[in-house]
Amino acid sequence: MPNSPSDSGQPCRIRVQHRGPLLVEGPVEVELEDGSTVASDRFRVALCTCRRSRRYPWCDTSHRERTRS
């Protein structure tokens, strides 16, 4: 799937990190387990890996450690 209509064969770069979302160069389409598709045309997209996001598959920072002050 092409990453962007203007792409000239450049691979899409994805940044992984120990804790936190996958950072993907946008725009992206994400196919979910139920077969439905969601899209984002942001310049970069943060994909949830902790599965705690309330806006899954997009990161909403729910991976952050929760603390008592």
Binding site: P21, L23, R42, F43, D60, T61, E65, R68
Partner: protein, 337 residues
């Protein structure tokens, strides 16, 4: 939304310093004497408004005020005196961290028992609280991301590319209907507020003026570029969870679809922005200019300091059941849309 007039009205003076600055802008009197500037409460209404007026000349100016006064040497000298007092107070009063990592670490955890304004609004905020909050914040959100654009010529490489990418997103990614300042104006319309740029300047409290003055101060001075980057990181890192709570407040107060959308958009956008700002902008800047680390940490910490002062003011007024605005909003909501 009605077309914003390009130049807002001059606000009402709040004391001798802001009165003199205002008269000078209208050609009706001299600038405030040094002793008057030295005597004013540094966080108070008079000094903060005088500084705000000086800075506004770099954004949209004021109706009836010559655009050339933006670079008037006398006015710049007064502005420098006001800035010196403000920045000195901030440096003295901000509880600081020793390193950028330590300063960031405090923001990258989520307190389960948070007590900030967004926590209050999501749990027990009523429509009048939400409307006041939007009126106060309109001073920034109607120029959202503008003060941060000033840092772009002062950055290179990764830091510049990352900062420009985030700013591009803030400015709608090339789409006028997605500019964040416009999304905020739509939120204000949902809440029956006046979307005219500068409309709530007279109503805003000194603590709100200080948060915008901080951005302008850091944005306009190249020497403070490290602090501007730290400030921007602090805003983006804290925005996503805060926006989730504010979206919840908009939903339970029935504020409207555009009001919910503004904060929903920020949950998602700022989860990305914080990553880019930490890895690319801070990482890139400190790779180029490692000597700016202490300034970056100061920018992070000082943002918390001015935001905490605003939160204390709002929550204190609301706990007493009174308005946080200098002129309370009309209670009736007229839906324009």
């Amino acid at each position: 939304m009605p077309q914003d007039p390009r130049e807002p009205q001059l606000p009402q003076a709040r004391g001798p310093v802001s009165a003199a600055v205002q008269e000078y802008l209208l050609g009706a009197g001299p600038l405030p004497p040094d002793e008057t500037v030295a005597r004013a409460d540094v966080y108070g209404d008079d000094l903060q408004l005088a500084l705000y007026i000086c800075y506004e000349l770099h954004y949209r100016g004021f109706a009836g005020v010559s655009s050339d006064l933006e670079w008037d040497p006398g006015l710049l000298r007064t502005r420098a005196a006001l800035e010196h007092r403000f920045l000195s107070a901030l440096r003295t009063d901000t509880p600081g961290h020793d390193s950028v990592e330590d300063a960031l670490a405090g923001l990258l955890v989520e307190p389960v028992d948070g007590t900030g304004v967004s926590h209050f609004l999501s749990k027990e905020g009523e429509l009048w609280h939400v409307r006041e909050y939007a009126a106060q914040r309109s001073l920034y959100h109607l120029k959202e991301a503008d003060p941060h654009a000033w840092v772009l010529p002062r950055l290179w490489g990764r830091a510049k590319a990352g900062m420009a990418a985030v700013e591009f997103d803030e400015f709608g990614g090339g789409r006028a209907d997605r500019v964040h300042a416009l999304l905020f104006a739509n939120l204000m319309t949902d809440l029956g507020l006046d979307t005219t740029y500068g409309h709530y300047l007279d109503a805003a409290c000194a603590e709100m003026l200080a948060t915008v003055n901080l951005m302008s101060l850091l944005g306009l001075h190249r020497s403070l570029r490290g602090a501007l980057v730290g400030h921007f990181a602090a805003v983006e890192i804290t925005s996503s969870p805060g926006s989730r709570r504010l979206a919840e407040a908009m939903r339970h107060t029935g504020a409207g679809a555009a009001a919910e959308h503004f904060y929903d958009e920020h949950v998602e956008a700022d989860a990305v922005h914080e990553q880019v700002v930490r890895h690319e902008v801070i990482g890139g800047l400190l790779a180029e200019e490692p000597h700016l680390a202490a300034d970056v940490a100061f920018g992070i910490d000082v943002t918390g300091h001015v935001e905490d002062r605003l939160a204390d003011r709002l929550l204190r007024d609301w706990a007493q059941g009174r308005s946080s605005l200098r002129t309370p909003l009309p209670s009736e909501i007229h839906h324009i849309s």
